[in-house]
């Protein structure tokens, strides 16, 4: 899509330059020894905690290897990859955001694997008034609710579960990503928000996550793929295997994700 390229060229050029340059510097000096080098992983922002933990494991079993992450919104990452960023592994927060990368021929054989699932919970400030117990309560008058904008995966999931429950919510804000929703709840500016269970878990000190049955209607699948033209194809395959292993599953479950 030429338009897509045009936008990325102008908007993401600077964002791209940093990791690319960083990558160049590192591969340059990491030529010592078998399998050494820098593994470049682009991953959805919600994977920050478990993937950072897994990277430490990976680095300890692959001496001399450094895992370098680019955590951001999945669609932003997909744009950077289709734009030609030298990436080894891509883990997206939804199949829809993985698709452009597959369509661009960056996934060998188009084979992606779902390695985790995430469901929405209602996040409320821990010290806030306990007026919210179910999804229906979000429609209550005077309640400040924030949701993700429907353009981003968590917003699409929120719309789906609210529709499934037949609840009409008027949010005070439609945030640009799930972490922004979490921040507003965390700081007590919002009375409630819909975030992934993993996000609520990462802020367990300030935020309480309330599960609701309608979340089952909008479960998010997280696909992962080792990319073609990867600078480190063998390391890429190893990292994908680690994420799918029992160890990877444990890290993800601990962070609030579900096994596929």
């Amino acid at each position: 899509m030429p338009e897509l390229r045009a936008v990325t060229a102008t908007v993401a050029a600077l964002a791209l330059a940093a990791p690319v340059l960083a990558g160049c510097g590192d591969t340059g000096k990491a030529t010592s020894g078998e399998g050494a080098g820098t593994l470049s992983v682009f991953a959805a922002a919600s994977l920050t905690e478990p993937f950072t933990a897994l990277a430490r494991t990976f680095e300890s079993t692959h001496p001399g290897v450094k895992v370098r992450f680019n955590f951001a919104g999945s669609s932003t990452l997909a744009r950077q990859i289709t734009q030609g960023a030298p990436v080894d592994v891509f883990a997206a927060a939804s199949p829809a955001t993985m698709r452009p990368v597959v369509d661009a021929g960056r996934v060998p054989g188009g084979r992606t694997a779902v390695f985790a699932r995430n469901r929405l919970v209602i996040a409320v400030p821990k010290d806030g008034p306990a007026r919210v117990r179910s999804l229906g309560d979000l429609a209550g008058p005077g309640l400040k609710v924030v949701l993700c904008a429907r353009q981003v995966p968590c917003g699409a999931a929120a719309v789906k579960s609210l529709d499934a429950a037949g609840v009409r919510v008027r949010p005070v804000s439609q945030e640009q990503d799930v972490k922004a929703v979490l921040t507003k709840v965390r700081m007590g500016e919002a009375d409630a928000g819909l975030v992934y269970r993993s996000d609520a878990g990462s802020a367990a000190a300030q935020v309480r996550g309330i599960e609701f049955p309608e979340a089952a209607k909008a479960i998010n699948d997280y696909p992962i793929a080792a990319l073609s033209e990867a600078p480190q194809p063998r390391l890429a395959a190893d990292f994908v295997r680690l994420v799918q292993s029992g160890q990877g599953r444990a890290a993800l479950t601990q962070a609030g994700f579900e096994a596929p």
Partner: protein, 270 residues
Amino acid sequence: MTAGGRAAGHVAVRPPLILLLPALLGLAFLVLPLAGLLVRAPWSTLGTRLAEPQVLEALRLSLVTATLATVVCLLLGVPLAWVLARVPFPGARLVRALVTVPLVLPPVVGGVALLLVLGRRGLVGQWLDSAFGITLPFTTAGVVLAETFVAMPFLVISVEGALRAADPRYEEAAATLGAGRWTIFRRVTLPLVAPGIAAGAVLCWARALGEFGATITFAGNFPGRTQTMPLAVYLALETDPQAAIVLSLVLLAVSVLVLAALRDRWVNSP
């Protein structure tokens, strides 16, 4: 420009290549991305896309909030600039530095800072909430505040510079003629630095129009209430890059028009 300036300009007709080349590269770097927007814009569907209510709403909100923010900046920033330029006090250097901090601060940090002070649980905000029932986040007023925070330094710097450059003898003459301090400020100082104030206000307005980080952090994103053009561009990019180009074009056109029309007039003329 003076005659001397023109003579110097004559010599510079043949600029050394070592200066010209990086100058041209610099210009290309700044202008090419903007040209990219023009080249890739979906011109055939531009009209219908611009007429979409969401676009008009975001544009209207942007124009209104940027203008209100500029008014607030004028009301607070001109007196601030006057104090900085005319009143010697200990710690003036530090205050001047603090005033310009929002220029270099990442706007998101500005938004967080605003939340911590003016948010519902903020230092001042919780009192506003309990005493008057006023909460600022997620409101249009919140957008104006975020834009004011980021844009005011532009005004203060311009006005302070103008005040320092203004000849103090006019004010002294007015004083010897028996004019009060307020009268002097109103009738002598203000007209004297009016071009500086206008230039500052234009820059301030343009900066407020483009504000993104502090706005989305402090005021959130809700169409018609807090979704300004930059926020609309960011979200459009997630799903509809063509729409993002269209929105960017509008923002670009408005900014360039205003800067070209007013900045030349006020900044370049003495």
